[in-house]
C-alpha cells in the first residue's frame, strides 16, 4: 500500500525512544522517493488523459494519489527533522566532538548540518562578555557543592585544576575535584560521580 514505507521510517525512529540515533536509512528514503516518483508520473498521465478526453472518472484516483504524495512528503520531512533534533541533543551531551559510533550512523548531509550547528552555537556563545565567551553547555545542573568525589573510568592523563595543581587521572583512581572542572569529563564518561 502507498505510504507504508514512509511510516516504517517514522516507526523506526519511534522504536528508539530514548533519543538514540539509529543508522540513517538511505535505502528506505530512496524507496519512498521512488514511490513518490511513480505516483507522480501516473498522476501526470492521468491528468493529461482527463483533460484531453474529458474523462472525469479519473479524478478521484488522481486525488487519492496526490494525498499519498503529500503524506509521503510529510513523513519524510518528519523523519529527517526528528533526526536533526536528536543530533542537536547529542551536541549538548557530548560536546562538539561526537563519538565515532554516533558519526557512523549519520549521513553526509547530517554531518554537514551538525558542523554548521556547531559553528552557529559557538559564535553565539562567544558573543558574551565582550568577546570572552560563556560556555552555556556547562552548568547543566544547579550546583550543590564546590567539590565532588569522582572515580576515573579510563586513563585520561594529566589534568590541571584552576589553581595550578595537576592530578593524574588513572583508571580506577578516586579524586576530590572542583565540580565545574569535571562536568564535561563526567558526561564524556571519563569520570564517574561517586555518590556515597
Amino acid at each position: 500500500m502507498f505510504g507504508e514505507k514512509a511510516v516504517e521510517l517514522i516507526r523506526e525512529l519511534h522504536r528508539m525512544s530514548d533519543g538514540q540515533l539509529p543508522a540513517f536509512n538511505e535505502d528506505g528514503l530512496r524507496q519512498v522517493l521512488q514511490e513518490m516518483e511513480a505516483l507522480y508520473d501516473q498522476n501526470q498521465t492521468d491528468v493529461n488523459e482527463a483533460k484531453a478526453e474529458g474523462r472525469a472518472e479519473l479524478i478521484p484516483s488522481i486525488k487519492l494519489r496526490h494525498c499519498c504524495l503529500l503524506r509521503n512528503q510529510r513523513c519524510l520531512a518528519a523523519y529527517l527533522y526528528d533526526r536533526l533534533l536528536r543530533i542537536r541533543a547529542l551536541r549538548w551531551e557530548y560536546g562538539s566532538v561526537l563519538p565515532p559510533n554516533v558519526r557512523f550512523h549519520m549521513c553526509a548531509e547530517e554531518l554537514q548540518w551538525f558542523a554548521q550547528y556547531k559553528k552557529s552555537l559557538a559564535s553565539f556563545m562567544r558573543s558574551f562578555g565582550g568577546g570572552e565567551g560563556l560556555d552555556i553547555t556547562q552548568d547543566m545542573k544547579p550546583p550543590k557543592s564546590l567539590y565532588i568525589e569522582v572515580r576515573c573510568l579510563k586513563d585520561h592523563g594529566e589534568f590541571e585544576i584552576d589553581d595550578g595543581t595537576v592530578v593524574l587521572l588513572k583508571k580506577n583512581s578516586q579524586h576530590f575535584l572542583p565540580r565545574w572542572k569535571c562536568e564535561q569529563l563526567i558526561r564524556q564518561g571519563v569520570l564517574e560521580h561517586v555518590v556515597s
Binding site: 520531512a77 527533522y81 548540518w113 552557529s120 559564535s123 562578555g129 560563556l134 552555556i136 552548568d139
Partner: protein
C-alpha cells in the same frame, strides 16, 4: 544569594551610564532571577534582557579576578566561589532556555521578528537573531538537499511555518502578582461558562492561562513561578 556580592561589585554602576537607574549587584541578580523564572515557565519566547546578561557577565569576571587575589585556603574564597557558580548556573540556564525556545519555534520566532513594527523592541538579541537565521537556513538547506530536491516538482517546498509547531500560549502557568491588577478578563473554559473579570491582589498566587496574562508578564507586573 546576593549578599555575598555586595562588597565586590561597586564598579557595575559606572558602566551603566546609559541606564537611568543605578543598580546594585543585589538588584541586578534579582532582575536576572526574575527574567530566568519567567523565561523558564512561559511557553513562548519573551523579550530579551541582554543588558542584564551583559552586566551579570561583567560582575562574574570581576568576582573571578577578585578571587585570584585571595590567598589559598581562605574560607571566604570558597563561599565566593560557590556564589559565582550559582550565578553562572542561573545565567547559563536562562540563556539555554531562550536558545531552546528559539530552536523549537524558529520559523515563528523569525516571522514575529519580521512583522515587528519599527521602534518596537525586538524579542531577540542581535546574537540570537543571527543564530536563529543561521539555524533556519541550515535546516532548510538540509531538508532540500536530502529529500525535497529529489521529490516531484510540485512538492519541493515545505512551509516550515506550518510544519513546525507553534508555542502553546493556552497552557496554564502559576504566577505571583507583584502589582495589583484590576479587571482581568478571563475567557470561558467551556461552552456553558461565561467570561468574567478578576482582580489580582498584590502578593496573591494564581493558576491561569498564559494567554490571559502574557502582557502582564512582559510588563513585569506578575512573576511566573
Amino acid at each position: 544569594m546576593s549578599d555575598a556580592l555586595s562588597d565586590h561589585g561597586s564598579d557595575i554602576q559606572q558602566d551603566d551610564s546609559q541606564e537611568e537607574d543605578v543598580m546594585t549587584p543585589a538588584e541586578l541578580i534579582a532582575k536576572l532571577e526574575e527574567a530566568w523564572l519567567n523565561e523558564k515557565f512561559s511557553p513562548e519566547l519573551l523579550e530579551n534582557k541582554s543588558e542584564v546578561v551583559e552586566c551579570v557577565m561583567e560582575q562574574l569576571t570581576h568576582m573571578e579576578s577578585n578571587l585570584q587575589r585571595v590567598k589559598k585556603g581562605d574560607v571566604k574564597a570558597s563561599v565566593h566561589r560557590m556564589e559565582i557558580d550559582r550565578i553562572r548556573y542561573v545565567l547559563c540556564s536562562y540563556l539555554r532556555a531562550r536558545l531552546q525556545k528559539i530552536e523549537r519555534f524558529f520559523p515563528h520566532v523569525l516571522e514575529k521578528e519580521k512583522s515587528r513594527a519599527e521602534g518596537e523592541p525586538s524579542l531577540l538579541s542581535p546574537e540570537e537573531y543571527a543564530f536563529a537565521k543561521e539555524y533556519y537556513a541550515n535546516t532548510e538547506t538540509y531538508l532540500k538537499t536530502v529529500a525535497l530536491k529529489r521529490m516531484p516538482a510540485n512538492l519541493q517546498t515545505v512551509d516550515l511555518l506550518k510544519a513546525v509547531p507553534e508555542p502553546c500560549v493556552d497552557s496554564f502557568v502559576f504566577l505571583r502578582v507583584k502589582e495589583r491588577q484590576e479587571n482581568i478578563l478571563v475567557e470561558p473554559e467551556t461552552d456553558d461558562q461565561r467570561e468574567y473579570v478578576v482582580d489580582l491582589e498584590e502578593g496573591s498566587q494564581h493558576l491561569m492561562r498564559y494567554r490571559t496574562i502574557a502582557p502582564l508578564v512582559s510588563s513585569g507586573a506578575v512573576q511566573l513561578i
